[in-house]
Symmetry: C2
Subunit: 321 residues, 2 copies
């Protein structure tokens, strides 16, 4: 997988943004540590998902490209596949839950994708997708459980570590595990001493349970504000990589996630979606002890107005001292 | 003044952030132009004002530093002076209007400044400051009308142009004219062909009137959402520089300012305060024709939750197509 990540990195060169690494002196002083944020909220389509989508779709045969691709996603993968489809001239059909954030839905349609919605309480997206695939020659681009997708997402950590070199720990959010498994493979291959942690909402702790027990657990449609982590379970391809390369998993409360979003807003002037704030939430709560030099991956920034308004009204900027 | 800007740039090296330059492919495609944003919202204290404050206070004599400094400001200069005071161990007294954004007030107090509030409808801040200065040995650090402050603010454009080289035009917001005059001096000295434009809210168009008539006009406490430009008039030191080096002034509506703040939020994942969004507002409305390679200075990102909430609720992300 590490070789695939390196190839993906070359493939994405000049196509994906080399996203910046930001720091906050307020935070570093507060923790007496060095926290480095890899800002994939500034990536194309506003999330790391662009990397995996491009790495997959760009490797399809001409015939596959001509027939079009299908994807299912709660949001960012949908936008990413739609955007890459537009870039490469590949027709895209996207299956999205009816409760996906409006902003992600609109952006996906904006890239010209054919969007098909389903009710996540009564339908399973894999089944909706399977029905659509029947009798058609569409190629499925899964949101995480695919080697080329994992390799693409692994380029975030690959690029991050090559820029900042030594890290004592590296934190990544976990939904289906595409970003986390790619992060862990890249990180352990570049520096085995760096501890890699996956962070989940308490309300969507399926991967943590799976990691602790060595057996995949499932939590369908968990009610967390971090919509990017609402995936029911990790994948058959991501789970073994997580078990092998991730050091540990941690969970954070909804309150901590919202507080982290506010910190990014008020103190770092960045728009970060709830899923993207999981790493900072783990540091603010002490779920991860903030010491030494810690890398944190901010996965995305696609948050709609009403959600940000609710988060801003739930706390006060003075909470950070 | 250009020599002072170069010295200020050396003085600020390693102290102020070298803020990043961001672009938006959505915007560049929409305009068929190249728009480059210099992101001073990511500067220390969340605004360019840090530069002028540091450049001034760091040059005071040991005696002046020991006696402390006084400043008056609607917000960002207050924070900047307070922050620099803390950094350099100089006591700070700050005169702020009672309607200053709460977030700017809290941050100023947070740096340990002694804050004195006044009613902008009935009192003039220069007079409040003059009363405080009487019989004390405090040094006044004005918000814009001071050579060292202007030189510090000029380092934004100096750094920007040295990074991106050729620009066809450069846009800066205008309150008291410290940023605009410094920008114009730096820009014209580095490349006389670059057109320099100052942008103001329609509701606070004192500098535009002054520029057009060659005589300083005043508009006390104008009701614009762009609180950084509520300064009644340009300064006696900034005005001649603006007249000599700025090519033209443009004004934008409150609606356009809010739309620009939403664009930064939704499309670029950046928190930008209304005053910082003036340049983009001028491009979105066509007040400045978006063609060629245009540099836009984002002056700051200090916006409180209620203001952002109001702006987000006044429009929709789909307005950008």
């Amino acid at each position: 997988m590490f070789e695939r990540i390196k190839s993906a990195s070359q493939r994405l060169d000049g196509i994906a943004h080399k996203t910046p690494v930001f720091t906050s002196s307020t935070l570093n002083q507060k923790f007496n540590a060095e926290i480095l944020f890899k800002c994939e909220n500034f990536q194309r389509v506003g999330a790391f998902k662009f990397r995996g989508a491009y790495n997959s779709i760009s490797q399809l045969s001409d015939e596959q490209k001509a027939s079009g691709v299908l994807a299912y996603s709660s949001g960012n993968h949908a936008q990413a596949v739609a955007c890459v489809g537009k870039l490469l001239g590949v027709a895209t059909t996207i299956v999205m839950p009816s409760d996906a954030p409006e902003i992600k839905l609109a952006a996906t349609k904006g890239y010209g994708a054919d969007v098909i919605q389903y009710d996540p309480d009564t339908q399973v997206r894999e089944e909706v997708a399977a029905e659509l695939l029947e009798g058609k020659s569409l190629t499925l681009i899964p949101p995480f459980d695919h080697e080329d997708v994992i390799a693409g997402q692994g380029t975030v950590a690959y690029e991050f570590i090559n820029e900042v070199s030594r890290l004592d720990a590296l934190l990544a959010p976990c939904g289906g595990g595409g970003l986390l498994s790619g992060t862990a493979v890249a990180s352990k291959n570049l520096n085995p001493k760096t501890k890699v942690y996956g962070i989940e909402p308490e309300l969507a702790d399926d991967a943590t349970l799976s990691f602790k027990t060595g057996k995949i657990h499932s939590k369908p449609n968990p009610p967390t504000i971090a919509d990017g982590t609402r995936t029911a379970r990790v994948g058959d391809k991501t789970f073994p990589l997580i078990c092998e390369y991730v050091d540990d998993m941690r969970t954070v409360s909804e309150e901590a996630i919202e507080q982290a979003v506010r910190f990014f807003f008020y103190r770092m002037k960045m728009v970060v979606e709830p899923s993207g704030a999981l790493g900072l939430a783990a540091l603010l709560t002490g779920a991860i002890k903030p010491e030494g030099r810690i890398g944190v991956i901010i996965s995305g920034g696609n948050i709609d107005g009403p959600t940000m308004t609710q988060i801003l009204s739930s706390g006060h900027f003075s909470e950070f001292g």
